[in-house]
Amino acid sequence: MTRMTEKSAVIRMFHVHKRYGAKQALVDVTLDIAKNEFLYISGPSGAGKSTLLKLLYLAEPVSEGQILVDGMNLSRIPRRRVPMLRRKFGIIFQDYKLIPTRTVYENVALVLEARGKKRSLIEKKVKSVLRVVRMEDRLTAFPPSLSGGEQQRVAVARAVAGDPKIILADEPTGSLDDDSAAIIFQLLNMFHNRGATVVVATHDKALIESATGRVLHLQQGRLDRPLDI
């Protein structure tokens, strides 16, 4: 395997450990993710895939080790800068995490509102991404009225609305049927082709077998093939 240069890596993890009390969720994970890479992190449930993603957007702090995201050292980032870090990511969750009391349009617009964008720009951008995920005709619908596949497409639209550098997808097809899952992966590939770095955590074996990008395997919090840095 070709060693990644510091310049080409958008995410760097150095000897990262994560503990929840006595339980070791991640053990000595060292990993580089290149710009515009499509990376799969596989492993059984409880292997630490979600934890690894959570550490990247600081939903959880590391117990030991260092993480660099686009040059930002997460151990040294002040609390007030955390939103700036999160704006580098577009995050897709298995349970979609859409706000049920807000319409499809409002859910997607939230990302841009939080960044203080102008209303006219928000409208243009939201309609554009919803068109891409083929949800433009459901602007005023509320998430509970949508199917799982539709909700995940809205979640994808929300994730990409802010033009993030990195898309993190945590079991994005975990609760979807095959057709819906295929659409989600088409969309992820599309955004990857547009320049985004995509990291997908999944335990779906069929998906991993058809993967075109690099696949890393996590087992009991350890990477099977950690990079030697």
Binding site: A59, R80, R86, L110, E113, A114
Partner: protein, 292 residues
């Protein structure tokens, strides 16, 4: 800011019951505290008017000569705290008495000799109007030669002042308690709203919303609750004042006393206090919530 205001209004409409409870609580607190305030405001004006009228009657001994009278007047003029001295001769006093007795004045006609003494009516300077100072001055005047006695009919003001001050203190205490209770209730309402929307706030954070973005609508919500509560409280107080005031108007007019409602400036200050209450409620609950 329009965006934040729209979100705050939307939040209020989505949580109508909780917000109504807070607005009513703020309105009641404003009403109770302002009622006390209005009472004190008018009572203080009345009290001030009484205090301004404090006079000491200095009665001269019978048979006081013109020279002794002038000497007493001179001595009174040298006492600090006296604003005005007016001589009331025994004849003037008798005429005044007859005027006041009206129909019974004929009773006085049978007197062989005027029993009333010559006197000085001494008006106190404003800075010497306190009951303690009046008493001190009265004692000093009483010790002057040719003075047979002094009378200052408003000793009861002292007792009233003590009672009034105690009442005022209780009012301040109650006002503070109501303010604290209202802040507590407003804080709890916002906390309940925050709790019901914790998942939404969590999602906002995940998509890169800053604390400011999340908090500002809640601050505005608190301010709007306070504004509504304050306006309702002052409005109800004004309605009650108009209704009750008209009943006593004639009685009070006869006593040359006018009761008044707060000036527009004070009304604005009360409503601002209501807004501050709501804002503080939001501040405390958000502080706790974001610490988690």
């Amino acid at each position: 800011m329009t965006f934040y205001a729209q979100r705050a209004i939307k939040d209020i409409l989505e949580n109508r019951f909780l917000n109504a409870v807070t607005i009513i609580t703020i309105a009641l607190s404003v009403l109770i505290v302002s009622s006390f305030g209005l009472f004190f405001f008018n009572a203080q004006e009345l009290f001030d008017a009484w205090e301004k009228g404090v006079r000491i009657m200095v009665y001269l001994e019978p048979g006081t000569t013109e020279a002794q009278r002038l000497d007493t007047r001179y001595r009174l003029q040298t006492i600090a705290g006296i604003q005005n001295i007016r001589f009331v001769s025994k004849t003037d006093a008798m005429n005044l008495m007859k005027t006041r007795m009206q129909r019974q004045a004929s009773l006085l006609d049978n007197l062989r000799e005027n029993p009333l003494p010559d006197a000085f009516e001494v008006t106190m300077a404003t800075e010497a109007n306190s009951p303690e100072k009046v008493e001190f001055l009265a004692q000093r005047i009483e010790s002057l030669p040719s003075v047979s006695g002094v009378e200052y009919g408003q000793q009861w003001i002292e007792r009233f002042a003590n009672f009034f001050n105690l009442f005022k203190l209780a009012g301040y205490g109650m006002g503070t308690l109501f303010f604290m209770a209202t802040v507590f209730i407003a804080a709890n309402t916002i906390r309940l709203v925050l709790y019901s929307r914790r998942e939404e706030i969590h999602i906002m954070r995940l998509v890169g919303a800053t604390d400011r973005f999340i908090k500002i609508p809640f601050y505005l919500q608190g301010i709007l609750q306070g504004l509504s509560g304050g306006l309702i409280g002052v409005g109800v107080l004004y309605a009650a004042f108009s209704a009750v005031g008209s009943q006593f108007e004639q009685t009070l007019a006869a006593e040359m006393v006018a009761i008044r409602f707060f000036s527009p400036g004070v009304c604005v200050a009360i409503v601002t206090c209501g807004m501050l209450t709501g804002l503080l409620g939001s501040f405390f609950s958000l502080k706790q919530f974001t610490r988690k």
